[in-house]
Symmetry: C2
Amino acid sequence: MRNKLRLLTPGPTPLPEEVRLALAQDMVHHRKAGFKEVLHRVQEGLQWLFGTRQPVLPLTCSGSGAMNAALWNLFAPGERVLVVDAGKFGQRWGDIAQSRGLEITAIRLPWGVAVSPAQIQEALDNDPSIRGVLVQASETSTGVLHPIREIAEITKVRETLLVVDGISAVAISPCPMDDWGVDCLLTGSQKGLMLPPGLAFIALSPRAWNEVERHPCAVAYFDLLRERENCGKNQTLFTPAINLLNGLDVSLHLFRKQGLEEIFRKQWALTCMTRAGVQALGLDLMVKENYTWGLTSILLPQGMDGQRLLEIAARDYGVVMAGGQDHLKGRIVRLGHMGHVDFADILAGIYALRQSFKACGGHSGSRDYLEISLAAYQQALDHKT
Amino acid sequence: MRNKLRLLTPGPTPLPEEVRLALAQDMVHHRKAGFKEVLHRVQEGLQWLFGTRQPVLPLTCSGSGAMNAALWNLFAPGERVLVVDAGKFGQRWGDIAQSRGLEITAIRLPWGVAVSPAQIQEALDNDPSIRGVLVQASETSTGVLHPIREIAEITKVRETLLVVDGISAVAISPCPMDDWGVDCLLTGSQKGLMLPPGLAFIALSPRAWNEVERHPCAVAYFDLLRERENCGKNQTLFTPAINLLNGLDVSLHLFRKQGLEEIFRKQWALTCMTRAGVQALGLDLMVKENYTWGLTSILLPQGMDGQRLLEIAARDYGVVMAGGQDHLKGRIVRLGHMGHVDFADILAGIYALRQSFKACGGHSGSRDYLEISLAAYQQALDHKT
């Protein structure tokens, strides 16, 4: 039997047909008038999505590339940063900071736990030399949502930059950059934005730009000052990923027709739906509170072969989910509900989860798990307006 | 009147329909079995195209990103390199080398002139501390082909790495890396490879890898050692541009069906066709000898408005060509004949060039210019087998 493929990983995500058709367009030249219009429109859309009046610079690289760009532009070797290390991507902040030659103070948390604003406050009080806080809005390896708004309350009254990896947060849950006082927000194309990977986006606050202006970036490819200069002329510093930008033009158009509230309402409802279904199946949610809106992590019973579960779900039901990373490999399932995904995909996902769980020797849970999921979905839609 | 758009710039280039359909495919996950097969196939195809037994690493960035990667991995600050500065992209080598903290010896040449092997020999004889030669195979800003094979004869018997930007050369004119003794060959996706921009590829010789192993790369995004490790497992270090790699899988398949000889034969024939047509129109070729096979640069008469000429060609004939860069802005036309372009596109290009040239006050040239072009094309096809 050949089921449809349903990609329910926390990125890359399924693409809308309109975006796919845009990706297939024949090439145009990136320095000519027509494409400058695309870049202009895309810029307006990105500023709207990021909630900023600052330029949102498109970079041709993955999200990790934008993380590199942030640290190479904002800090000089020897400066100290505070890293929130609560998962694989928190560790990545640490790794990049280290390769950049920064001094690191780390808040190490068990995977699945969000940092508390008090921990940030304490670390900054203890060491006023800390120049920046590096954190994920959403830690994709676990599904934790860190309290960016509250952290910003702490950093914005100090000379400490708040640098936020919004890779699995932007266009998934609110993070209005200017309103909250985030100094650097970045994301990749393959999560909330309903695009293939290959583009990243980064925006800086005025005080973050002041830092950038103080020292030139040694990595020419990630020179944000020169990117900003080009952005003002509806260009990019280097030849950009043209077809991905054409796709972005379409996905932003789809978003603007809906409005931000509606995007977030859907993400919230899919999150509630997934969590309710998982619980109705008698499975354990890995993140009890402060959970992200783009994926749900499910703890498997001790001894169950999580890799086999994923293979069964993919082979027999066409549902592709992700497993855990590092010490969580085989121990959790990460069910993504971001990008071009709707309630029917999640129904398929929950059903595939149940069937593959049973095939691996798990118990069966409530018979009403699908109705319970849908009821949670509907309730969230009705109340979150 | 609405003519078809013909993109005759030296990158980006038109795309085959098969590639465009691959670009439009819905997303798959980059760490799952199906995509690993794509990466495996693509790796074999790239090694064939580069003429190397070393891994050819795909990077999600533009060609300039790969130039950054080369210098950050191969050299340490304070080491000296020889830069062949004969155009915009030679200058770019210099700029990146400078930002990397390298000491630079430059061979500065008038734009349109190729470096001679004797000049390289002399520079290396004068300063044995030079650790690398940075050069373009094809200088896209002018259309000059530097003598890579002859330069490699000089570098391979010394402790000097030959680092070649093959951005407008790979899949356009021969540059068999292992045979010639090139130490680093890199390219971008949007020139000979018939893909949109957004991917770059880099391969290193065994002795170049030795250099990389001696010092870790500070820019985590461009860590070639870790990329090589991932490549061996049919993965990439970071989330790659999946849809571009799917497109590459198709374009490499198209190339392999033809064979390298056939690819180069077509490129050579289109070059001969364009040059014959330009000369028959009484226009001046900017590069008299050592010209590249992917674009032809045409010098305009003093005082003619080259920008206007390009606008007329695009508006009235649908033919998009490129102008000059920097001091050549408005002074030359660069007619690209790389990527998915055939003789009929070049006929349209030559006709549009003639008509827009006349509209700008130019003379009309031979009445037989199209027949002359086609005869040169046919002759090249027949003799270059």
